[in-house]
Symmetry: D2
Subunit: 328 residues, 4 copies
């Protein structure tokens, strides 16, 4: 039935880590460590490195003190040394390469690049695995440490969401240059409004949503993964009393199908907590699911909480005039 | 840090379907359709085809009337037409090919082969997608049908488990010929006792556990996927009153980390229901987790129900003398 | 510490059943039976009787065909024959008695009365227990039948909510004449805005919320009980695709603490599904929790979904001008 | 239908607290405070007082250093000052009174008594409410403090289980002298083997199970309450890694219907965690559910984990010969 087509690119393995910039490093650290139960694995410069209790790498989140919130960079791991070279060549051919860096705590040399709208990214191959923290050894051999007894502990990083002015342009970059496959998209007439893309079996590893302001390169959210709905409700209680803003949720997405809770961490970045993985995609010839913009409500929220206006406007750095944060 | 190694094989995409043989087709069908909420998509010959409500293909389970329980065959989907050709060549080179068939309802031509111990398998590329059943259209565009209101509906097939006498031999076939990666294994001294392997980001797509009888090519279980612990408990109540044997669970595995419930369907085959996906693996350089046989209890059950002796002995076809089924 | 006070009244045991009026009996029946898994126990006149699978009485819900939606009557069971006589005397002394009826399917003679604003109620002692439905016998001796395998089955009725113009007046009737204790209330300056009252250990058996229209005696909702959050989300999916209006939820109440989902059944009545019992009260000297009207948002929704305007306006019978249902 | 009978006794309101004796106070305190998230409210003498985050009284658990594990005493709260006097008179008439004490931290004068087999109990009326701990104020007015962010926090105490040699004798004491109603019982021919009794709407407030040793007055377990199955599984993970013995579970009881997890706290006392309240009883004419001893397996475990032999033998104080604890 299916015609013979060129074989897909398999060179990007997964989202390895995200660096979040925060104007209040202590408060952001408290949020991720004490409420979300993440393990602090290192500090260096103005940065703190963290990971979830099921994560094997040195870190999946890097918090860096900065004047404004936002994503410092987004890191993808290549599938092999050869795959890294192929993607670097493709990125350079696209004119979006920014050159090699020596690496960072937790990984080897990395190639820096940007999306067509300037979101900073990197790709690397050599990685360092997590050490078992003192006093946290576990008999469960597939985890680097035991489950934390603090807050409502997340298991791992899941996906990323960026704001883009030209969705089609950025999507095509992810597909053509990096080898992502598109899973779902929203069309406004002939125009791509938003797109969900993956390199793994997750419903998506990255989403691109519309940027309504003149700003470019903004970050919408990073998603962290739980096991169950109960964890979303437990965390919502803790967050509320801790003065963490709950933007919306718990609820269930149409697109992707995950159960969600959106919080604004103390530094101002939006964080999604997932209480169900949603559907997974194993089909190598997956046909992109297409929604019309008129179906947006069902696409974004299938059941549960509605999505406030701020969800469509607020990103980091905040693009509002000084003194009027758009999420307030 | 990591040395440059040959690139992995990416040719097998995922477990596409399993054919279960049953001496009581009507009772087996009732189990999968009425208790597990699977959709019947076709009947032909002595077979009934079924799928979960989030599955996009024509079917993920084929029930076929037979004298004895067991797995008729296990089907893998290739990642591309080219990938299919490469794997067929490799299987033929290994001397385990059995030749092409024209296909079946739901997919195109397939290449039949066996494991070194004779478990029947096939691999194919061309696939047919599910039609939306009459009266079950959904506004949720990423599902082929709405969620059923019968039983406790499973979402999709997850993985497979086979009984093997020579674990290392069968594991090496899965790795070297089909391109699986090993995720966890249990060692009894220098010998591989059991092995968990994957081609997707799931903790495993296939497991190989020891065959304690002289029989060869037996089936241990197929796993179907739920969202939550609650579903396992709900189904356990329904199963108990419907006279379905609960072998063990709910509980949580050490290896893989999934929440489990094991039932024996009316035809005699063991079915695992999963109430949590367990951990996922995105790391392309994943280091196999190795357990010693002395750690088997923790490896198999991390928390919850214990595992009865039948779990290590019973498989289908039943290898017991006539009249003394080992699961009884 | 506490002074010696007169002993409380213990004469009302619990909410026994609610009669809902529906302009579309077939559609309402389909909702309660097929989506909520309730068992039909009898039909008589224009009524159908239903109960949850853990309920021991003949019925907890009576659906009656009528021109308009609303509550036909609300029935309380007395704690003893003597308790029944005492409450009848008190109701008659309050001038709100409407006389004895011979009973109904499922219970013996009952005394009819009204609240100060005319909501029809009854109280009775003699009760008939549920027969085990054909083919649904269970080995679980504390249930009259096995768990249903249809829809997302509710376990039992939980509580009731009525709309009142003079909250203090109706609340005092429930306390002074029927013996309820107040658990929580909302004050608007010196005025009681809303009140939650109980005779059991539930956080409340009845709630009284403000009536914003000139109508009197209107019904706000009846609540049915589940075990878990998962069931609320599962039902929300089924309801959405079945064309059942989801007014709000899932979410978690501040007052009472239950996880909620509000649906409008096809006849027009509002139904709350509870996915957690909330807190329970065992303290016989419980001090009423008092909220200021300015805290209403937190009192009504502690986490999760917001509450739409219709929640404060819509009740049955609908008080809107013909053709403009307030819930639309 | 029902004949007119004498009215029941309503004088005992609920289980107010349990004093557990522990040979390792620090380790026991760590268990309840750090793993179960209980709040320490006071220390005095060799005792520490604790409560769950939804509990309103000063404490529900008192831990006291002692040579051996066991229950120091079990405290019931009367429904009123008059109710207290009536029960004291009845206990004295039964010859089981031990006299008044001045009270303790958290409550006023209490009357001490024993069951016919010597289990120490008390009943009181005057109670002190919990103060909000420093820095833990909550906007949720029906809780004395915010939800903890430590361990997997229990919400409240639920029920108690005692070992008895003469079940009928002890049960009749609870019914005739204290006013409990029997909910379920297990019969071995003409003999009462075990009994579940309540004064609240819970399925039971106390259970009496057989004492297989010559010891008398032993404690089987106290149960603490969670919201969901997920919490049982989360706690089981924490307990396992903390070296806390998991005796059995998670699983679901037939009798009572609760989801359970049984742990042995570091002092040696058995603790049940409940992940579902089970069924509730509102019916004032509830007919005792009767099981035959041959049905015990289904009665105790409806689905999930089996119950080990230790469950029927081990209690505190341990009745085994020195050096051979029966739970080992």
């Amino acid at each position: 039935m299916q015609a013979i087509e060129p074989e897909p690119i398999y060179d990007v393995a997964h989202l390895a880590h995200v660096e979040l910039l925060t104007p209040d490093l202590d408060a952001s650290l408290g949020f991720f460590r004490d409420l979300l139960g993440m393990e602090e694995t290192a500090r260096a410069g103005g940065s703190v490195y963290l990971r979830g209790y099921e994560e094997q790498y040195h870190h999946s989140l890097k918090l860096t003190a900065a004047a404004e919130a936002g994503a410092g960079h987004v890191a993808w791991r290549a599938r092999s040394a050869q795959a890294l070279q192929r993607r670097v060549a493709a990125i350079e051919a696209a004119g979006l390469g920014r050159g090699w860096i020596d690496g960072d705590l937790g990984h080897g040399r990395a190639f820096r690049f940007v999306t067509p709208e300037g979101h900073p990214m990197e790709i690397f191959w050599e990685v360092e695995y997590a050490a078992t923290p003192e006093g946290k050894a576990t008999a469960l051999r597939n985890r680097p440490q035991r489950r934390p007894a603090a807050g409502v502990p997340i298991r791992r990083i899941d996906h990323l969401n960026l704001m883009v002015a030209d969705t089609a342009l950025c999507r095509d970059f992810m597909i053509d240059v990096l080898g992502f496959r598109e899973r779902e998209r929203v069309m406004g007439g002939p125009n791509v409004v938003a797109s969900w893309l993956a390199v793994t079996n997750l419903s998506h590893d990255i989403a691109l949503v519309p940027e309504p302001t003149p700003a470019r390169g903004r970050f919408h959210h990073v998603a962290l993964h739980y096991t169950s709905l109960q964890h979303l409700y437990d965390l919502a209680e803790l967050a509320r009393e801790a003065g963490i803003r709950i933007e919306t949720g718990p609820g269930r997405h149409g697109i992707g199908g995950a159960a969600f809770l959106y919080l604004i961490e103390p530094g101002g970045n939006r964080i999604e907590l997932m209480g169900d993985p949603g559907y997974m995609v194993f089909d190598p010839s997956w046909r992109t699911v297409v929604w019309d913009a008129s179906e947006l409500a069902a696409a974004v929220v299938w059941t549960g909480a509605s999505v406030p206006d701020s969800f469509w406007v607020y990103g980091t750095p905040d693009a509002a005039a000084p003194g009027e944060a758009t999420a307030a």
